[in-house]
Subunit: 407 residues, 2 copies
Amino acid sequence: MREIEGGVTATPGIKAAGVPCGIKEDSKSDLALIHSVIPCRAVGLFTTNKVKSASIKVSMKHLADGQAQAVIINSGNANAVTGKRGLEDAQEIAGLVALQLRIKTEDVLVASTGRIGIPLPIGKIAKGLKEIVGRLSEDGGHEAARAILTTDTFPKVAAVEVDLDGRPVVVGGMAKGAGMISPNMQAPLVTRSTGQATMLAFITTDCAIDEGLLRRALVWAVDRSFNAITVDGAQSTNDMVLILANGLAENQKIFQKDSNYQKFSEALAQVTTRLAKLIVKDGEGATKFVEVEVRGALNAQGAKLVAFSIANSNLVKAMLYGGDPNWGRIMAAIGSSGAQVEEARIEIYLGDLKLASGGCGMEFSPAKAASILREDEIKILVDLNLGREGMRVWTCDLTPEYVKLNA
Amino acid sequence: MREIEGGVTATPGIKAAGVPCGIKEDSKSDLALIHSVIPCRAVGLFTTNKVKSASIKVSMKHLADGQAQAVIINSGNANAVTGKRGLEDAQEIAGLVALQLRIKTEDVLVASTGRIGIPLPIGKIAKGLKEIVGRLSEDGGHEAARAILTTDTFPKVAAVEVDLDGRPVVVGGMAKGAGMISPNMQAPLVTRSTGQATMLAFITTDCAIDEGLLRRALVWAVDRSFNAITVDGAQSTNDMVLILANGLAENQKIFQKDSNYQKFSEALAQVTTRLAKLIVKDGEGATKFVEVEVRGALNAQGAKLVAFSIANSNLVKAMLYGGDPNWGRIMAAIGSSGAQVEEARIEIYLGDLKLASGGCGMEFSPAKAASILREDEIKILVDLNLGREGMRVWTCDLTPEYVKLNA
C-alpha cells in the first residue's frame, strides 16, 4: 500500500468539480460534484442525531438499492430543519443533476453543511449546477475538496493505492470538519452506541467488491477514524460518509473476508484515518492534536465511555491548551464516565510520563510535564487495569478562539 | 415563609467560623467549621463520580448512623486520589475536631474542595483547627461561607424562616461552586440517573423531623436545585450536600408527609434553589444566567436528557455568549440527546419569541432576538409536544474567560 496524490479523483473513472454558486456571501466555492463514469456500488453511514437534514433523508432513500453514480454537495447551508420544502429542494437538486448527467435521479446522492434552519437558495444552486457539470474533470478532486469547506482552514484529501493480486486498486477521499465535530455515524437500521459533528467525507474506489463487504469495510474503517474523533462533543444533523466503488480496477471481485478484503479494508482505513486526523488538526481554534488512549477496560463500551469522557471534558481540554499537568481533571472525567472503574487500579500517563497510579499521584518532573505539554501532539494514556478492551480517540484542545469563532 | 439574613448560623444552636490555615498560598481563608450545640439528625448526598475524595468516603461512613454534630471543610485541596494517606488524613481531621469540641469522632463530617491528587498539609490544618474552634460564633456564617470558596468570586448564603404550627423554624445554608459544576448527588445506595461539579453545600435547620423524611425532603430539594444546574458538564470527585437538623425549634416532630412536611420541604428547596442559582451566576467566566426549560417529554428521563444536552452544548453556550440566535444548534442538541423526539413537533422559544416550529424555522425579528440575547438572564424553552414530562436546568454561557481560567 502506498500513499498517492489526490482526493476523490485519484480513483480512475471519477471526475469532480467545485464552483461558487452564491450560497456563501463572499463568492467562496460552495458547490461540489462527484461523478463516476459508470454506476457504483455505494454505501453511506449517517448521523445518529434524531434530527436529520433533508439531504441525509434523500441520500438514505437513494441508497436503498446500494447503487449511486454521483454526489452533489453544497456548503454554507445545512438544509436541516427546513420541513417539506427542504425535502423537495434536496430532491429537486438530485433531479437536476441526474438530468444534466443523464443518469437516474436515484443514483444521485445529496449532502449539505452549513447553517441550520434556512431554506436553500435553490435558484442559485440550479444555476451553479449548469456550470459545475461543464467543469467536471479527472483533476477536479482538490477543487471539490475546497467547495465543501465551512469554517475549515484547509482542504482535506487523501488517497492510497494497494495491489490486489497484482492489480492496482485506488481509494481516494475528501472530507470537511471544523466545528460540531463528534460524529457517530451508522448505517441505517444498524443501531449501536451514540456519539456526535458536521463532518462530511466522500470516498471513491475502483475496487470490485460485494456491497455487503463494502459496507462492512466502511463501518470498520469509520469506527476507528471518523467515529473516534471529537472536537466539541456536538453531534451534527448532517454527518455523512459515502463510498462509491465503480469496480474499474477489474480486480477479482471481493466476495469474502479473504486477504484481498483485508488489504482493501486497510487501504480504506488509511484514507479515513488520514482525513479524520486532518479534521481534528483543523478543529475550530485548536492548537494541539491530542490522542486519548484507554486500555484495560472490562468491555468495549466502557473503553469508549472513558475515552470520550476525557476527550470531551472542557476542563481537560482547557488544561491542554494552558499546559498545566492537572491530571486530577482526567481522573474526574474517568470516574464520571459511567464506565466501571476502580480508582486504585487506574494509571494515567502523559506521553511516557506516569502521573498517577494506585489511587495516588506520582512524583514527576514538572519541567518534563511542561515540555510534553508544549508539543503540538500530546498523548494521554489511561490504563484501567480491569480487562482487555481499549479505545483510541483523537481530539484537540479547547481555546478562547473556539469560543470566539462560535459566538 | 420569609427570607432572613445569614447562612448556616441563621439557625439557632449553630455556630460557625472560618480562618486561613495556609493551604492556599495567598493567606486567603481556607478552613471552615460548623458546630451544633447538640447532636443533629444528619443526611448527606454525595457525588456519583466513581472516583470519590477521601472526605466523601469518611463523611459517608460517619453518616451511617444518621447523626452528626460538626462539619469541617477545607478549600484549596480536594484530598481526592490521595490513597490511604488521604483517608488517614481525613480521619485524623475528624478526630482532632471531635477532641477539641468534645464530641464523637463519628459525629464529625469532613468536606474538601480544591486541586486533586495532592496530599493535605495536615500540620497546617491541625494548627488551623486549634484557632478555628476558638472563633466559633453565632455570627460566623459569612466567615465560614468565605472560607469554602475556590475560584468563586463571592460567598453564597441563604436562609428562610417558616412557621410550623405557630413555631418559627429556620433553614440556613451556604455553598460554593465556580468550575467542575454539574452535580448529580445521590444518597449512598440510592442509585438513579447520573450527572456532574465541585460544588459543596451545607444546610442547617432547627426543625424537628424524622431522619427518613429529612432525607426525602433533601433529595426532593436537591433534585430541583443543585442537581439541575451545570456550568461545564464536569462532575467532581467531591460534590456534597449535607443537612444538619438539631430540632431546637421544638416544633411537633415531623413524622409523616403532612402539611408541615410540605412547608419544611418548600423552605429547604427555597434555600437550595437560591444557592444553586448563585453558583450558576458565579460560574467561571459566566456573563449570562440561562434557564433551559423542556416541556412535553414522553418521560422524565427524556426531559432531563434534552435539557442537559442543550445546557451542556458548547455550541449553544458560545452562541449565548455571542448573542447570535442560531437556534439550529439547539435543535442539533435536542436530536443528539438520546431522548425520543420528533423533529416536526419540536417548538423552540427564546424568551417569548418562537424560533422554530413544525420542523422549520419561524420568521422572527432579528432585532427582538438580539435584544433578548443582550439580557443578563435568558430563557430557552423547548416543547417536545410528545408527553407531559418536563425539566428545568440552569446554566451559564461559555466564554473565552472560562477557557483562560482553566488553562
